[in-house]
């Protein structure tokens, strides 16, 4: 069982978390034309890197959505950051 850090609650067991999305993926502006290829890439394409990743996770008990940096190969947790500082 892995342990993840919630920026709000601290280190908690993995089963309290849900994966939400790959971090840094920008939703296309759908009020403008978006090609099938671009939309499909947004919907379906994941980098799924072997090694270091940045992912959006949600800590279900407190509902905090945050960015988790981890290594998919070694399972090491490299850090977390709250999402809200990403908002301009």
């Amino acid at each position: 069982m892995q342990q993840f850090p919630c920026p709000f609650c601290g280190l908690r067991d993995e089963r309290e978390f849900h994966f939400a999305a790959e971090a840094g993926k920008i939703r296309p502006d759908t009020t403008q034309p978006v090609s099938d290829a671009d939309w499909a890439a947004y919907l379906h394409n994941r980098k799924n890197p072997k090694g270091e990743t940045r992912e959006v996770w949600i800590h279900t008990p407190c509902a905090e959505v945050f960015i988790l940096k981890r290594d998919t190969l070694s399972m090491a947790v490299l850090g977390c950051e709250p999402l809200r500082k990403d908002i301009p």
């Binding site: 069982m1 892995q2 342990q3 993995e14 849900h18 939400a20 999305a21 939703r27 296309p28 502006d29 759908t30 009020t31 978006v34 099938d36 939309w39 947004y42 919907l43 959006v56 949600i58 279900t60 509902a63 905090e64 959505v65 070694s74 399972m75 090491a76 947790v77 999402l83 809200r84 908002i87």
Partner: protein
């Protein structure tokens, strides 16, 4: 009949004799015995039958490494299958029976199978799958497969306690190295937990039977134990570390005795020190499976712990100096001992009842042959954690190499066999210091089997894998160790090849002309020893497995005679008397429904309207305060995720009434869009479902009931899809005019604490109008009569809103919304999309039945009822191009039955909506 109890010695209590039976015969042992040690002391040789050929087998080891003695054990009417005789403590009155043998291990009727061994080569089972026809063999193989017999009885109270704990240093294995390390670390101030799987601490120190740092083994062990406890360390005996999991979590199974559920400990250790020792390695030679051939360490364990000698006339076949040290111990016990050098030529066991061994051109008479082909460090936990293994040529063994984070190994588990070296190493590693170099290595040359011999040489005693099977696998090119394992079933028995795997690797390496490290090892997976599934189960059973949500009015429903059932995680009234009668009552008069589970999620803040416009398919921003709108939430893939109504309280506050079973999912979806993509300081989400009760009054007499309730709302001007505040006595409440039945309906939402008095009053008034309570089943019928859908029942993972007839936002909504672009994909525009339709037929259609054209399925029945209002069957379905097929005949196919039906619009009752304001 050769094993015997020595006059003294061992950790057993000779003042406490215990009686037991094995395969129907009576024996006695002592407190402190295991089933295996007691049988060995009674001279019992044959303790089991092998899995495939039913060959007679004696006990080989003295602990978890024994592959042979597996019993079904009954005590006080409780039977546990597949107990390892070597690890099951003897209790007075136990009745043991060897598994896989009938009627007894000694006289097994299937022993005849052994004569056909040539017909059952490696891969036998797999080959029967292919040729000539698996079903010819299936019955026989299924009967032969498996070991113990279940008695089908549940043991009352068999429930594993679940502990969660942490420590600085977890020391796995309480032998010399583990004790030294635990004491050193505890005295240095670390929070230490030492675990040992035997009931007593000491590990291999007992069988070694030499002074430890100037003290007797027992005194030295007691001194370490006292020092560890004095320094604040903790010790758990009878406890096995069965696996290392992510981020240094170790699973411990703590034994509590026969037929008592073990406890599960999930330990989060800052560091794990593996002092798990090493296992005796067998020697591969002709007839090496004969009862009487045993591991040397096992025999010494029986002697030291249980005061049992394995035989009287003993030959020891070994490649190392442990045999030399063992000779005086066995002689002191009264045995005659001959040492044989295993590196000098192949050996062969003679006699069905072992009477000699041929070795190096000589025949040596013996009744017992002890073998020691080197040591295999117990590195399972190391590999669970992702540690690497290195091949050590001096001891011919895989030893811990590159360490996983927070893990170290010491002592025999690390290939350090000399005790003084092991103690120094353990003490250094306990403080995370580098270990000093070993001063006294114990060399063990690699033994390789004679692959040219045609004799039967056993590799895996439990699964009957012989050298010939390895040869066949090599010949058929199953040379990768993972393939070798699966093809021959090597190491796949309950012992997981603890002794067999290295012998198999050595044989395959020899056959391939490779070194063992080139050949590699198979994957080590938890659990290290078999653990009951109950271990992971704990309190998660019955109602606690998935606790139901309970209604504040549950007692009232029970008093009204409700049949309660689970609906979307809630325990709800399914019906009170008769579903059809409830529907007719509500259609003709009035019904009272507990709709409390309906979601009540508040969305607040200056950006709330904009936010809901984004998460809803429908436009919400134009909704006026006091009004309600029906709408869909979609996934980004454009699939309908939930439906429900949104009520606007004021410009910056909304209440979302989502499906009863989707509240958690909708809340999570809203939270993730709120925080990821919106300004979380300008919109807030609060799920208040649990705080409110909701009661629905529905039917032509709903208005008179509302009048009599006198809630302070303006009934005359109360339009459909609007809401008002009111009060019941002093309790403020909300009344909404929405309808899931198609009839005039009022939804009253008030604090849960006031639900009971309100229910009592409302029920009385409803009954005065010839109405009464209705359950969720009646409502399901009524909504189907109206063609109202239930998400997930009448929709599936491909349903988009326009498939349900809601296409205006898709065509006209300007603002961006979740899933918008997906509604214009090629798939979304296909003419053969499955669309919601109604079906009419003379018989009730099975839900889930296919709508077919020829042999092709073009849709499914999603809801089907006998309509009490219309008095004929009705059904909803998803059908390809269904919207354009109204009036067409269609064939419904179910279990080879074909039923004719007619496609209709989904609404069967009052399509114009006249009843809403009747």
């Amino acid at each position: 009949m050769t094993g015997f109890r020595t006059p003294q010695g061992g950790l057993i209590d000779r003042s406490k004799p215990l009686e037991f039976t094995f395969d129907g015969r009576s024996y006695s042992g002592f407190q402190g015995d295991t089933l295996a040690s007691a049988l060995l002391a009674n001279g019992v040789r044959i303790m089991g039958r092998s899995f495939k050929y039913h060959r007679p087998r004696g006990v080989w080891g003295a602990w978890f490494d024994d592959p042979n003695a597996i019993f079904d054990v009954t005590l006080n009417g409780r039977t546990l299958p597949n107990c390892a005789a070597t690890t099951t403590a003897l209790i007075d009155g136990m009745q043991a029976r060897a598994v896989n043998a009938f009627p007894t291990a000694k006289h097994d009727l299937k022993g005849v199978l052994d004569r056909f061994h040539a017909l059952m080569p490696a891969g036998f089972y797999y080959k029967t799958f292919i040729w000539p026809n698996w079903h010819l063999f299936e019955g026989m193989i299924r009967k032969m497969a498996g070991l113990g017999r279940l008695d089908g009885e549940l043991i009352a109270g068999y429930q594993s306690a679940q502990h969660h704990d942490r420590c600085d240093l977890l020391v796995v294995g309480g032998g010399g190295a583990g004790l030294a390390a635990a004491r050193h670390a505890a005295e240095a101030g670390q929070n230490v937990l030492l675990i040992e799987d035997h009931p007593a601490l000491g590990g291999g120190l007992f069988r070694r039977a030499l002074p430890v740092e100037g003290q007797s083994p027992a005194d030295w062990i007691a001194a370490q134990q006292a020092a560890i406890l004095a320094a604040g360390g903790r010790i758990l005996t009878g406890t096995t570390a069965f696996g290392v999991f992510d981020h240094n979590m170790v699973g411990l199974a703590q034994d509590h005795g026969f037929a008592k559920a073990p406890s599960l400990w999930r330990i989060r250790a800052r560091r794990i020190l593996m002092t798990t020792g090493a296992l005796e390695r067998p020697v591969t030679f002709a007839n090496n499976d004969r009862p009487g051939v045993m591991g040397l360490d096992g025999a010494l364990e029986y002697l030291a712990r249980y005061g049992v000698a394995a035989g009287r006339d003993i030959a020891v076949l070994s490649n190392n100096t442990f045999a030399t040290a063992a000779q005086p111990l066995l002689e002191q016990a009264g045995c005659k001992v001959t040492l044989l050098d295993a590196t000098r030529g192949p050996a062969k066991a003679i006699g069905k009842t072992l009477r000699a061994v041929d070795h190096n051109g000589q025949r040596i008479a013996c009744d017992t042959l002890l073998v020691s082909g080197g040591r295999t460090p117990v590195v399972h936990l190391w590999r669970h954690a992702g540690g690497k293994l290195d091949w050590n040529n001096t001891i011919s063994a895989f030893v811990p190499g590159h360490a996983p984070d927070g893990m170290a190994a010491a002592g025999a588990a690390n290939g350090t066999y000399d005790l003084d070296d092991a103690l120094s190493e353990a003490r250094a590693v306990a403080l995370n210091h580098a270990a000093p170099p070993a001063r006294k290595p114990v060399p063990m040359p690699l033994l390789q089997p004679d692959t040219n011999s045609n004799t039967r040489q056993w590799i895996d005693l439990q699964h009957d894998v012989t050298l010939k099977d390895i040869k066949l696998a090599a010949q058929e090119n199953y040379v990768s160790v993972e393939h070798l394992k699966r093809y021959t079933t090597l190491g796949m028995a309950p012992d997981q090849g603890k002794t067999a795997n290295m012998a198999g690797l050595a044989a395959m390496a020899q056959l391939q002309g490779q070194s063992i490290p080139e050949t590699g090892t198979t994957t080590f997976r938890p659990p290290f020893v078999p653990v009951p599934l109950e271990l992971y189960h704990g309190a998660r059973r019955g109602q606690l497995f998935n606790p139901l949500k309970r209604l504040p009015l549950e007692n009232r429903h029970r008093a009204a005679g409700a049949a309660l059932g689970e609906y979307g995680g809630w325990l709800r009234p399914a019906w009170y008397s008769d579903i059809d009668a409830e529907v007719r009552m509500a259609r003709n008069h009035v019904g009272l429904l507990d709709a409390t589970p309906l979601g009540k999620i508040e969305v607040m803040g200056p950006d709330a309207a904009k936010f809901l416009d984004f998460v809803y398919y429908n436009t919400i921003a134009t909704l006026k305060p006091g009004h309600i709108r029906y709408g869909f939430m979609l996934t980004e893939g454009g699939i309908v995720f939930d439906d429900g109504v949104v009520a606007r309280m004021d410009p910056n506050r909304f209440v979302i009434s989502c499906s009863s079973s989707h509240v958690a999912g909708v809340t999570a979806l809203l939270e993730s869009w709120r925080q990821d993509g919106n300004d979380p300081d300008r919109v807030f989400i609060h799920d208040t479902t649990a705080n409110w009760a909701t009661l629905t009054i529905t039917g032509p007499q709903a208005k008179p009931v509302m009048q009599a309730l006198d809630l302070g709302v303006d009934l005359a001007g109360f339009a459909h899809m609007t809401w008002q505040t009111g009060h019941f006595h002093d309790t403020p409440l909300r009344v909404a005019r929405v309808s899931f039945t198609g009839d005039t309906s009022f939804e009253i939402t008030l604090p849960s604490a006031q639900a009971e008095p309100f229910w009592d009053t409302a029920l009385q008034l409803v009954q005065a109008e010839n109405g009464g309570p209705i359950g969720i089943e009646a409502v399901s019928h009524m909504r189907a009569e109206k063609g109202f859908i239930i998400i997930g029942k009448d929709t599936d993972g491909e349903t988009m809103p326009h498939d349900l007839g809601f296409s205006i936002p898709r065509r006209k909504k300007r603002a961006a919304f979740v899933g918008d672009r997906s509604l214009h994909s090629e798939t979304a525009n296909r003419p053969d999309r499955r669309q919601l339709v109604g079906l009419r037929s003379d018989t009730l259609l099975p839900t889930g039945a296919h709508l077919v054209t020829g042999k092709r399925s073009i849709g499914t029945v999603t809801s089907s009822y006998h309509s009490p209002t219309l008095n004929h069957p009705i059904a909803l379905a998803l059908l390809e191009n269904g919207a354009n097929r109204h009036g067409e005949a269609i064939t419904v196919w179910h279990m080879d039955r074909e039923i004719p039906a007619t496609v209709t619009a989904p609404c069967f009752l009052d399509p114009k909506g006249d009843r809403l304001d009747a």
